[in-house]
């Protein structure tokens, strides 16, 4: 059997599969279904300085090949995550976890990242500058190179663990933003967050989602994600985590060929809660089919 392990910013992953933030809670719902220690790691629910309820409902709309969500960063706040969620997680997950962080100003990001950086269970900080569902925060930091670099610098100044900037596809030049993060000291880049989308109900003639717009994810956005991962991976030297519509072991291989060191799986978890376990089980067969002995050898292999 070929080797599945990869190195993500100096930490070894047994395999490159990482459930994406917002689709895996704080892990324990899925731990009831299967042993989540089979995962490379997972990125926990986007956490902010203060508790948030998020947006009004409906927050979900279905699309061809995917879905739109406008949850709006519902989370209990970093204090409660540290006091309540992480101890619960410790009982069922024994690997370093990826802490996903959002904020509404540079100071918020730094505060939350500093607090999570001190937690032994946290392996990486994934800094979300790309949430399309909150006003005056999230994505507004990820749509300009200067703002993304400012968040990166502020977080790097107060943390010791690898900092991965999660980027938005809703920009004209994602490469410029990725490079600005790299220059500001980012240890990795993850992409893509959801694409801004909208559905309208023909009966009511109103948007399906209460927040009107939301983040479009699912298999339909996979080609956009592959393209952007390819562009960014060819422009930066730091590792890239690819995500966006990944639903199979074949998709994982394609994402790695585009330049991803590890691969996050998002919306697919909501439809098939066992998908990440299944992909990990399926990877060796797909590697054998395509004559891959070691996953590291295919990272960025598409020229």
């Amino acid at each position: 059997m070929g080797s599945l392990n990869v190195d993500l910013c100096g930490i070894r992953l047994d395999n490159p599969i990482i459930p994406a933030s917002g689709t895996f809670g704080y892990g324990y719902e899925f731990a009831e279904l299967y042993d989540i220690n089979c995962l490379g790691t997972f990125s926990f629910k986007g956490t902010t300085k203060d508790p948030r309820f998020g947006n009004p409902t409906p927050r979900i709309a279905e699309c061809t090949g995917g879905m739109i969500n406008a949850v709006g960063l519902q989370n209990p706040g970093v204090e409660k995550v540290i006091s309540h969620e992480l101890p619960l997680l410790k009982q069922c997950f024994h690997k370093p976890v990826m802490a996903n962080v959002s904020g509404f100003c540079v100071e918020d990001y730094a505060y939350t990242c500093q607090a999570l950086d001190k937690q032994e269970q946290v392996g990486w900080l994934e800094v979300n500058v790309s949430c399309p569902n909150v006003h005056g925060g999230g994505m507004s930091f990820g749509t300009s190179p200067e703002a993304a670099a400012a968040v990166t610098r502020a977080v790097k100044a107060v943390t010791t663990k690898p900092v991965i900037l999660k980027l938005s596809p809703n920009v004209t030049d994602i490469v410029a933003i990725a490079k600005a993060c790299e220059e500001a000291g980012a240890d990795g880049i993850s992409l893509i967050n959801t694409m801004l989308g909208m559905r309208i109900d023909l009966r009511t003639r109103k948007p399906v989602i209460a927040n009107k717009m939301g983040g479009f994810s699912g298999p339909a956005i996979f080609p956009v994600a592959v393209r952007m991962v390819y562009q960014v991976a060819n422009a930066v030297k730091i590792p890239v985590i690819g995500m966006g519509g990944v639903s199979s072991a074949e998709d994982v291989v394609e994402m790695m060929l585009a330049g991803a060191t590890a691969v996050e799986v998002g919306a697919a978890n909501l439809v098939n809660p066992y998908i990440c376990r299944d992909i990990i089980q399926e990877l060796p067969r797909v590697m054998e089919k395509y004559k891959i002995h070691n996953l590291n050898e295919i990272i960025g292999g598409a020229k």
């Binding site: 689709t23 719902e29 629910k45 409902t57 979900i60 879905m67 969500n69 978890n269 809660p273």
Partner: protein, 244 residues
């Protein structure tokens, strides 16, 4: 929660657009009445959450209204069709609080989850009143099924074409010990106001996953934020917080 394959045994129209589907499969993870299942359909990304009407060791009965592409596809399914279901979702009704004379109020496709609840309450020896609310006579289903369980059944229709004219709240009995209800939100609000005992209500919301992972169906309650799919869909009257 369990993911498993079920086979359609029968799928028949109860009214113009309401269908009853009986499925065979592993029901061992359905632990309570008032829970729901989440059904995967070909060509559709999200699963369809449908309440459990009745179940036994090997079969599951669901009743659904055709409202969109998913339920339309379901309505055309023949016996033998295999479906991927997540079962055992949601909390379900707490039967221990019923008292001796509970009243059950179901509106439209809020009627189905009342059926297994009524069955269990009757098995526990309760005197069960059931009020079934519909818009018009042509929409009525399951009146006889509830009678066959030994419930006192009243049907209300908004247009007065059958039974009591009006809403379920117009047919509340004089004396009851507790209430259980499921139906559209305006009905739940009316039941909340009209009842003089404690009770439980089942809520509906657009869901992403149906098992508590995505926070797509959250609501505010007096006891904090809850996910309708995982912490609900059943809430106690005392914890409900109506938003403007």
């Amino acid at each position: 929660m369990k993911q498993s394959i079920f086979e359609v045994l029968s799928n028949e129209a109860l009214t113009d657009n309401v269908f009853q589907m009986i499925l065979a499969g592993d029901t061992s993870h359905i632990t309570n009445c008032g829970q729901f299942v989440n059904i995967q359909l070909d060509g559709m990304f999200l699963r369809r959450p449908i309440s459990v009407c009745d179940y036994d060791e090997n079969t599951l009965t669901i009743i659904y209204k055709v409202v969109g592409k998913g339920t339309e596809a379901m309505s055309a399914m023949k016996a033998g069709t295999r479906l991927d279901l997540l079962t055992g979702l949601g909390n379900g009704y707490d039967l221990t609080l019923a008292g001796d004379r509970p009243v059950l109020l179901g509106g439209g496709v809020g009627v189905p989850p009342m059926y297994n609840l009524a069955k269990k309450l009757r098995q526990a020896g309760k005197s069960v009143s059931v009020i079934l609310g519909f818009n018009t006579a042509a929409e009525i289903f399951y009146e006889e099924a509830f009678r066959a369980l030994g419930c006192q059944v009243t049907v209300t229709t908004v247009d007065g074409s059958y039974g009591v004219k009006g809403f379920v709240t117009d047919a509340l009995p004089e004396n009851y010990t507790y209430f259980y209800t499921c139906g559209p939100e305006p009905m739940l609000k009316a039941v909340y106001r009209a009842t003089n005992t404690s009770g439980q209500m089942s809520f509906e919301e657009r869901m992403g996953c149906g098992f508590g992972a995505c926070m797509g169906c959250s609501c505010k309650t007096i006891t904090g934020y809850k996910r309708i799919c995982k912490d609900g869909p059943v809430m106690k009257k005392e914890e409900i917080l109506w938003e403007a």
